[in-house]
């Protein structure tokens, strides 16, 4: 499994403002918090899976968070650039 992205680069440029804002957000802190929440909720998820078993949703409940984690780990290289008339937004996972 890949390592999740550690930083999020956010560039914001506005036509009325000559300054170009570049933010490097430490999103690894968010992953740490999410991991802690997941660990805290793990017993509850297990109980929910047992409750959902007769309805056929147990697999969904059990595998949802690992698959979300897999998606987060594959966010490296995702870039979004949106240019509007008055502003430009650039977002990149590093």
């Amino acid at each position: 499994m890949n390592c999740p992205p550690l930083l999020l680069r956010l560039d914001i440029a506005r036509n009325e403002c000559p300054r170009h804002t570049v933010l490097w957000l430490p999103i690894f802190l968010a992953w740490l918090i999410l991991a802690a929440i997941f660990l805290a909720l793990a017993p509850l998820i297990l109980i929910m899976a047992l409750v959902a078993l007769p309805f056929g949703w147990a697999k969904t409940v059990l595998l949802f968070i690992p698959l979300v984690g897999n998606c987060i780990c594959n966010l490296h290289g995702l870039e979004v650039n949106i240019e509007k008339k008055e502003s430009v937004l650039f977002l990149s996972f590093k």
Binding site: G56, F64, N74, H76, G77, E79, I82, E83, K84, K85
Partner: protein, 142 residues
């Protein structure tokens, strides 16, 4: 007829792609399948899917002109495809019905990682352009 060919025809019927694009995709999938059989791995190492949305030059001069450029890692798409395996059967039926109401005749249970690989292989050799009145969408792998 394979699932991919049926899917392309569905996209054509839904008006998502033009007849030319459908023909190119069908040709590419045909060659892609034969190449897949001939060689185990992909011929090029594509890493990203690029989607660009540009304003249509003919519709230039409109007030809210937007340009979008998105680079999506293929690994992220593969990871996302795995979510389809989590959809329970009854929920799949509801999704299919909702898609049908929107005019898209597509079965979400047919989404498989192998099909995605074939589509990526097909996209190596061609680019998909979708153009409506205001915008032009360009999809390709790099």
């Amino acid at each position: 007829m394979s699932d991919n060919q049926k899917r392309i025809l569905d996209m054509l019927a839904a008006g998502m792609i033009t007849a030319d694009e459908a023909q190119k995709l069908l040709t590419a999938i045909g060659s892609g399948e034969s190449e897949t059989r001939a060689s185990a791995g992909p011929k090029r190492d594509a890493k990203y899917l690029r989607v660009t949305i540009l304003p249509n030059p003919e519709a230039a001069g409109e007030e809210d002109v937007k340009r979008v450029n998105v680079r999506v890692p293929l690994t992220l798409i593969r990871a996302g495809i795995k979510f389809s395996s989590l959809i329970p059967a009854d929920a799949s039926d509801q999704v299919n019905e909702a898609l049908k109401e929107k005019g898209i005749n597509f079965d979400v249970r047919n989404i498989k990682p192998e099909d995605l690989e074939e589509l990526i292989m097909a996209l190596h050799d061609l680019e998909v352009d979708v153009q409506d009145g205001k915008e032009k969408v360009h999809v390709y792998v790099e």
